[in-house]
């Protein structure tokens, strides 16, 4: 049994909504977008842990919190640093053994070391590469920031290796190109190379293929799987596409409006969904058989996802849920185990 790589407990991120001067003067209380509203999950070392859910449910925000790009409103975590950077971090920062809390205030030096260990791949390869920098200088930036490679030649060597690792061959043809001179798939390969060049142990991949042409999605996913095997990585993989999730995820967490509503091993969650929302999601997955795809299927969920600024009381799904009961409107359902390792938060399964 592998060890836990990352244990997240009750993580929250509230974005304040800008108030007008009149609001401030008339004492209207500050309002927040509750993008992530108290989620807990574990990532096992060497696994691909997936976050799925509709647009706006807080997947990206969770990823950015793990990659320490934004500060958590509250929450606690245990993160196991890899052997590579363990010596760079002072002992007192560790909470137990090799674990530290990602969401606390950390000294600048520790923050910088953690950037070596946790990397992120963004959804949009058109936005994540500076259009004014060559591929070479984009890949050189992390090396310069962390003083890796003492000479230009050494760094060039590392960059070439990183490029061939993501199958951009021959590398010397790519280093002097600008992002607009390569295809979307190649861009995402560059973004992957940038994430990998610092040799991280945990990679957050935020819908890495959703903006790519369908024909190259499989290649990129395969590349990520190969890299994982090669380097013994752990992934937090974000997607709204259950077909992709089914293909690569070990365990899965379904998010709705900033909460995890169901979590468990992928085949359990997808083949035996319990939560009404997951059931709706699974039935929304396109059928591989084209004749089935055109059939109007029954989607047992109605209406639009509410805004994260106005989250319904009780169970967040209740305005849309066909099974909603009275209790759903007032009390939030607790997380309960429906079968070993498979949990869901719904009053249909919880004891009152």
């Amino acid at each position: 049994m592998s060890e836990i790589k990352l244990k997240v407990t009750n993580l929250k991120k509230y974005f304040p909504i800008r108030r007008s001067v009149i609001d401030v003067l008339s004492g209207v209380p500050p309002r927040y977008v509750r993008a992530v509203d108290g989620i807990s999950f574990d990532v096992i070392e060497g696994e691909i842990f997936c976050l799925v859910g509709e647009s706006g449910c807080g997947k990206t925000t969770t990823g950015r919190l793990i990659a320490r790009l934004i500060e958590a409103t509250s929450g606690y975590s245990l993160y196991k640093v890899s052997r590579n950077i363990k010596d760079l971090i002072p002992r007192e920062v560790f909470i137990k053994e090799d674990y530290l809390n990602l969401f606390g205030k950390l000294p600048n030096a520790v923050d910088k070391s953690l950037r070596l260990d946790i990397q992120i791949i963004f959804q949009d390869p058109y936005g994540s590469l500076n259009p004014r920098m060559t591929i070479g200088s984009i890949l050189e930036e992390p090396l310069i920031v962390h003083s890796i490679g003492s000479t230009k030649e050494e760094r060039q060597e590392i960059i070439f290796r990183a490029l061939s690792e993501v199958k951009l061959n021959p590398p010397e043809e790519f280093v002097n190109r600008y992002p607009h001179m390569i295809s979307g798939g190649q861009r995402q390969r560059v973004a992957i190379a940038r994430a990998m060049i610092l040799n991280p142990s945990l990679v957050v991949a935020d819908e890495p293929v959703s903006m790519l042409d369908v024909s190259i999605r499989a290649e990129i996913l395969q590349l990520m799987l190969d890299l994982k095997k090669l380097r013994n990585l752990s992934y937090v993989f974000i997607t709204h596409d259950l077909a992709v999730a089914n293909y690569i995820c070990g365990r899965i967490a379904v998010m709705y409006l900033g909460k995890i509503v169901e979590t468990g091993p992928t085949d359990m969650v997808i083949n035996n969904p319990k939560h009404p929302y997951t059931i709706a999601l699974v039935s929304a997955v396109p059928e591989p058989d084209p004749s089935n795809r055109l059939r109007i299927r029954e989607v047992p969920i109605k209406g639009e996802i509410p805004s994260a600024a106005a989250i319904p009381k009780g169970c967040r799904l209740h305005p849309r849920c066909p099974y909603a009961m009275d209790i759903c409107k007032t009390k939030e359902p607790p997380m309960v185990e429906v079968e070993p390792q498979h949990q869901t938060a719904c009053w249909l399964y919880a004891k009152m």
Partner: protein
Amino acid sequence: MSLVSKIYDSWSWIRKEILSQLSGKLALALLIVLIGISIYAALVMPPDYTGTWDVGSKWEDNPHNAPPEWASYLGYTCVPQTYYDLRGFSPALSEAGGRIILTYNITYNLELKEYPRGIMIKVNVTVPQGVRNARIRVDVIKPDGARLSSLMSEYVDLTNTSEIVLKLYKLERVDAVIMSAYRELASFLDLQDINVRPMVYIFGNLSYSEDLKSVVVTPLTGRYVFVIVLDFRVLGIQADTLLRYVQRSREFSLLVKGTCYGLMGTDHMSRDLAQGLFFGFPIALAIGLLVALASTAIGVTAGLISGYYGGFIDEFIQRTVDVMGSIPLLPILILVAQSIAKTYTGTDKPIVMLAAIFAVLIVFSWGGLAIIVRSMTLSIKSELYVEAAKAVGASNLRIISKHVLPQIVPYIAASLVYSTPTAILTEAGLSVLGIRHGFPTWGNILAEARLHGSIRQWWWILPPGLLIAIVSLTFVLLGLALEKVVEPKLRR
């Protein structure tokens, strides 16, 4: 890629873009000419130039308010400047009763129908011991036979010194001199007019008007004789000894000033306008670039900080810009300049006034750029690639310098170009409003023309005005061309 080659790349790109437009071509051509002239002028500028521009004695040999020499093609009559080095002339000598008298008869031919602008005699001589005093007297015999006796005269006491340093140009009692030369017209002469325009009466033909009730004066061409008499009272000095001293004097000359001068004419203080305009090039460019650089630097820094860091500092900078923007600049400029003009007494007053004007201009002109840079920074800051740079651990400084700044550089260049003529124009504008600092700028020349000249002295008014316009035009054209380079990037 190294920084140098990057800068070179973006420069050659900008240059290509600029040269693809007509306004860009024109602007670059003008700019090259401007910079060329400025560099040359700065190299040959005498070190004390700005200090001596206002010193009258430096310009006394020139005619005042004279049009340029080429004005003769426009119908102006240009009497040439005529200079006589009297050391080479042999005077008539006479010696009697302890006096030695040297008499020089200098012939001056006035060929054109115009009045010369002045007469100047300079003496700078050491006389031997024993000369007690000296008197110098000038008579003029006109072509019509009239003799203007003692038109100029000066007495020098030499008991305690042996140096004679004299400049004769004042015409004292010229009305009396003219009256006694033209007794028959005396009752019709306008004494006031003689004192105002003495040269007209000295070099003019006086005759009755047709109705015999007044005197008309017309230029009198022909042969004039300047009789210059040096009358020494001496003790035991030989005449030829004294003559040798006079011939070895440092200066002894007669100048009959012409009516036209140099390439660009002169102003009321006889200053050579060509010089003022020429040395005005580097001054204008330096002033413009200095103010533009300073306000751009402040604007960019403030905008970057405001946009990138946000929060309290952002609020503070934005409110400062708002407050600055609501204060009218011109009254403040006038107030500051006037109060310095009234209270400051140092010799470097012109520079201090100018510096104060530009300090105010800088303080009030960075706001617009700061707002634009802030909004650009805000939008760049939220780009995904900036987040990616943060994810790999790039510092704020690195993100600003590598990801934010390079994108606003073309805009900074355009702003720099646009704000360059602002300082030049404001300085000129203030001069026209009557705030005169005295520093020899084009604006200052214009201001003096406004105060002491009239529209007839076009050579004094038009060239500085045109130069200011051309310099501004150059930068505005360049800005227009740059804007077209920058604009698609802004829209992106």
